[in-house]
């Protein structure tokens, strides 16, 4: 029950932070970190996959509604919601019967960083290629995705490092 409430609050807070504050940053004209995916990162590990997928879709669609980019964020979010389980299995070994929420404490610092980096990169590259919707200017698109990924990773790790267990 507590976890449900926690996740609802996290969902609303992250969406508002993203659309009201971060989407207005546009630092240097193209730095626009997308940290709303922290919601997907922080879902309990043993959450049914179909439910993760639907949550990812709803999250992406909410962001899309506010930024007039219908479908782009939904696509990228569903993608990382789908591969999240696999990435967790790749970097960590969760004990049988436990259902932790991913963080530095439950995953260990190295594993959590790897987990975040892989998912952010996949999400951002998907997002920026879909946004451009063309393979022209591919170099520019990839550069933007790379730089934004770094900023997003830094912010997400920063937020997570302040959290207590």
């Amino acid at each position: 029950m507590l976890i449900l409430l926690q996740n609802i609050i996290r969902f609303v807070a992250l969406v508002l932070l993203q659309v009201l504050a971060l989407n207005n940053i546009q630092f240097l004209g193209f730095l626009n970190p997308y940290i709303y995916i922290l919601f997907i990162f922080s879902l309990p590990v043993k959450l049914p996959r179909w439910f993760t997928l639907i949550l990812g879709f709803v999250l992406g669609l909410s962001i899309d509604m506010f930024s007039n980019t219908l479908g782009i964020h939904a696509f990228a979010s569903v993608l990382i919601a789908f591969i999240r389980q696999g990435v967790i299995g790749l970097f960590t070994s969760i004990e049988e019967g436990s259902n932790p929420t991913p963080s530095f404490y439950t995953f260990g610092v190295g594993s959590y960083i790897k987990y975040v980096v892989v998912l952010v990169f996949i999400h951002h590259f998907t997002l920026f290629i879909l946004e451009a919707f063309t393979f022209n200017h591919l170099g520019m698109t990839l550069l933007k995705a790379l730089l934004n990924s770094f900023v997003t990773i830094l912010i997400i790790l920063g937020i997570q490092s302040f959290r207590k267990k």
Binding site: L16, V19, L20, R49, W50, L53, I54, G56, F57, G60, L61, D64, M65, F66, S67, N68, T69, L70, G71, I72, A74, F75, V78, L79, F82, L130, F133
Partner: protein, 281 residues
Amino acid sequence: MRTLFNFLIQYSVVFLFLLLEIISFTLIVNNQGYQKSVFLSSSNRVAAEMYEISNTVVEFFKLRAANENLSEENTAFKNQLIILQNKLNTLTKNTVRDTIHFRIPPEMEYQFISAKVINNSTNKLQNYITLNKGIVDGIKVDMGVISDEGVVGIIKTVSNRFSVVIPVLNPKILINCKFVRNNYIGTLVWDGNDYRFANLTDIARHVEFKLGDSLVTSGFTNTFPAGIPVGTIEDFNIKESDAYYKIKVKLAVNFRTLSHVKVIDYLNYKEQRYLEKASEN
């Protein structure tokens, strides 16, 4: 059947994943049309109201910048107002004077067609100006062209919607002009050097004038009515052996900044030409 069922259950997540991705992708592709996206975009009510609330907060912090912008704009407008008022004052005086000059009987002898300069050069030896009006607007070859400042030139060629003017800044035309002070007549020619100055010839030794004297059109040609400003005397000299002055005239029109002109339609042109030709024979 049982295996198929098992298969479906086993891969239900993958199917859900594919379904959601297909939905997203369809949304992306269909998002080209604006109407389709209205429901799920920031123009829907929830998103719009959220943005409204956030704007009221953000606006407060932008007030200072907005104020500065407004005051800057205000000053610019005030300056413009003063300039326009000055122009209006001078123009009213001019119009009163001009109408006297233009109203050579019979009345309404001249009409004006306003036109815009769409191509202009001042740096060549033979300059031309292109106007955005042509035959359909009533422009004919040999009509005079003036601006608010003074004489510009004469129409050389006309097409349906455009016309080309030979301006004063072209040695091919000679403008017949006279001193306001004593009505002595001379011919204005451009020497091809400076777009601000031209030379006045045919002023004989005995004519009296001073620096700064005004020149206006003589009215003896069919193209320009009398009294349109041409320029002022900038400099003059005469050698002992010469019979005529060399006079440098500062042109009234700034050809560099020329934008709007009036083409003069002399309504009695045909009749006058006909009469003159008849008497020559």
